[in-house]
Amino acid sequence: MNDKTLLNVKSTRRQVLGGAAVAAGVAAAGTFVPTRFAIGAQANVKIGFLLPYSGTYAALGHNITDAFKMRVAELGNKLAGRGVEYVMLDSEAAPPKAKDNTARLILKDKCDVLVGPVHSGVAMAMAQVARDEGTLTIVANAGADNITREMCAPNIFRSSFSNWQSTYPCGSVMLKDGIKDAVTITWNYPAGKQMMQGFKDSFLPGGGKIVKEILIDFPSVEFQAHLTEIAALKPGAVFTFFAGGGALKFINDYAAAGLQGKIPLYGAGFLTDGVYQKAGAAANGIKTTLHYSDALDTPKNRAFRQNFESNAKRPADVYAVQGYDAAEMLRVGLEATKGDLGAQDKVVAAIEKATIESPRGNFTISKAHNPVQDIYLREIVNGEEKVLGVAHKALADPATGCKMA
């Protein structure tokens, strides 16, 4: 997954948003807004993005960034009256570089706020530095449970999800569908295991049985041998988590091995998000749980998707929502102190109390700083994603080990 190595930094002035108005607005915010003469007389808020802009996860990084900027542009390119400046740094999804990169954003680029990574390993390294330096940080994707569990800190928030959260409701869903035993299959890495744990936490107590847990070397995509095994085991269902290229290949291989329609396939939403369109008919019938769905039919979501698509010239997805909400969380916090980040405890308190109006539906923030949100059940029907309903209302992560909670 990490195919870039040599060097690790990228902070360019390129304008990511396609929409001319937004781009011009961002440029104006970055360069022309006088810092001393504006009412409020404050310098710009400097926001550092540590996101993958190269390699496998680049699309995610760009969507988070663009949606964040879109929200700020909607607010007139100001947060609580202050202009906004951006620094974009390529995380390359490379954990060993995360600490140096985070330090660069805080110490060299003097960022006031960090908007965090896609990759969980990067997130954990980043969170540690951010905690030491006390910089306000919003994790805009990485789902590692630890970030809002034992590693939780007052200055660290998450606008996305915890891995546990995205799969916990699926166990009950499968039991309701009458499934009694299942094979789980995922990559052998922390995110995969945490996703499986969430599933097991509801499936096993409800009387479900797990026939076999298959772990595949990350990021290998040689599924064939395991699919053969699944075919021989004939479980009631398969529960899985893969994402990106692995997800696409898994869905295709699953169908090609003749399992589609014979053994129902369930998973965390990332299995199909951004993937089902490419998988075509092979994705039909897959049921997943996630805190968002492209197909959510609410005015807020429709407006968001339309807006994003006309700005960025590509469809919005769950990652864009998380970036958009990160900006909204920051707005709520900053407005409580009229833009003063120095009073960090007040900023933090305001975000903790807020109800965030999001395209995914309104959510609140837990004591451990993770969203308390509805998890939807979705299904791919005839090549389209359909929302079957809310699988779990206002689900909070258990936040085990978080001393704040």
Binding site: P96, L107, G121, A144, P190, K193
Partner: protein, 339 residues
């Protein structure tokens, strides 16, 4: 032992002094960056012993770097040990054992085989740390800042590596020591044999030396020093991940050695410095900086085969009156390879 021109020693001493006073006035971020450079430099120097002196092109040197880092992490995170007096010996022994085993297999081969076998072993260790649940998996592990290595007598803490300034000076001291140690090794009879093997293996064998043993010892020394660099890196970032052992890391350190100039001990230091600074600079300019870096590596290979040290050395030679004839052909070959 090939001679390093005197002016270069003067420059190196000045450089060390500059590094020593830099934190007094330098920007916090760049002080951090220089600490990173120094750790990388020690790592690259250890590889240079193999590539530049013994003529063994290892494409899996990151394995030992990673073993050192993981040994440090295991003691800190699994056993709660922060005492450097325990950590350091364990790290060195672990890296040395890994180097002994891998070296024993690898030195039986040469050329392309050696390159690929060292690569394959590094991959094996990569997956060892990547796949076994004991080692925290693909995302690596964060070490608690308070648990970082320290040296204490009784209750008095002498060195605490979690303190950035302390770490900086420890790294600087280690860099100087590593340089001195390798210089001594290379000037010893052992070092002369090592260099002789690269120049003409058969001749050294004909002189009655057990070439394989000499190679193996060089491999173990290099691996141990790389493990030590891994210990420093784990202490510096308080983070360890399988990516420390990836083949990209092995490639990166080879680039540093070549860029700086192999076969000189100061070359890798220059290489680390230039590459890290280049990273800090180029990446801010263009979106396609990896393309720039790729082309940069290609250009260095084509037009700067002796690295920066080659340039420096040539310049230093020009400042001196021409030398009298050097003498025997073999020595001249060594000299030529040293630039």
């Amino acid at each position: 032992m090939p001679r390093t021109p005197l002016p270069i020693y003067v420059l190196l001493a000045l450089g060390a002094v500059a590094l020593a006073v830099y934190p007094l006035f330098g920007d916090v971020f760049y002080v951090r960056l220089v600490a990173k450079v120094m750790v990388l430099a020690i790592f690259a120097m250890s590889l240079d012993l193999l590539v530049g002196y013994a003529g063994l092109v290892s494409f899996g040197h990151a394995a030992f770097f990673g073993v050192g880092a993981y040994a440090t992490a295991a003691l800190i995170a699994k056993a709660g040990i922060a005492d450097m007096a325990i950590i350091l010996p364990v790290v060195l022994v672990a890296a040395a054992v890994a180097a002994l085993v891998i070296g024993w297999f690898s030195i039986r081969t040469s050329g392309i085989y050696f390159i690929m076998i060292t690569l394959a072993f590094a991959q094996m260790l990569y997956f060892f740390f990547h796949d076994l649940p004991f080692w925290w998996g693909a995302d690596g592990v964060n070490l608690p800042r308070r648990g970082l290595p320290r040296l204490a007598f009784g209750d008095t803490v002498i060195l605490d590596l979690s303190d950035r300034t302390v770490f900086y000076y420890v790294a600087l001291a280690c860099l100087v020591l590593a340089f001195a140690l390798l210089t001594i090794i290379l000037r010893s009879p052992f070092g002369r044999v090592i260099v002789g093997i690269r120049v003409n293996e058969n001749r050294v064998r004909a002189l009655g030396y057990n070439v394989q043993n000499y190679k193996l010892v060089a491999f173990v020394i290099a691996g141990t020093l790389a493990g030590f660099a891994g210990f420093l890196e784990a202490s510096r970032t308080a983070f360890v991940a399988p990516a420390h052992l990836s083949w990209h890391e092995s490639g990166l350190v080879l680039v540093i050695v070549l860029l700086g100039g192999m076969g000189t001990l100061y070359g890798p230091i220059l290489g680390a410095f230039v590459l890290v600074m280049l990273e800090d600079w180029v990446s801010g300019i263009t979106e396609f900086w990896l393309l720039v870096m790729g082309l940069f590596v290609i250009l260095v290979v084509l037009f700067l085969p002796n690295g920066i040290a080659g340039l420096v050395s040539t310049l230093a030679q020009r400042l001196r009156p021409p030398k009298p004839d050097v003498g025997k052909p073999v020595e001249r070959e060594v000299e030529a390879a040293d630039v």
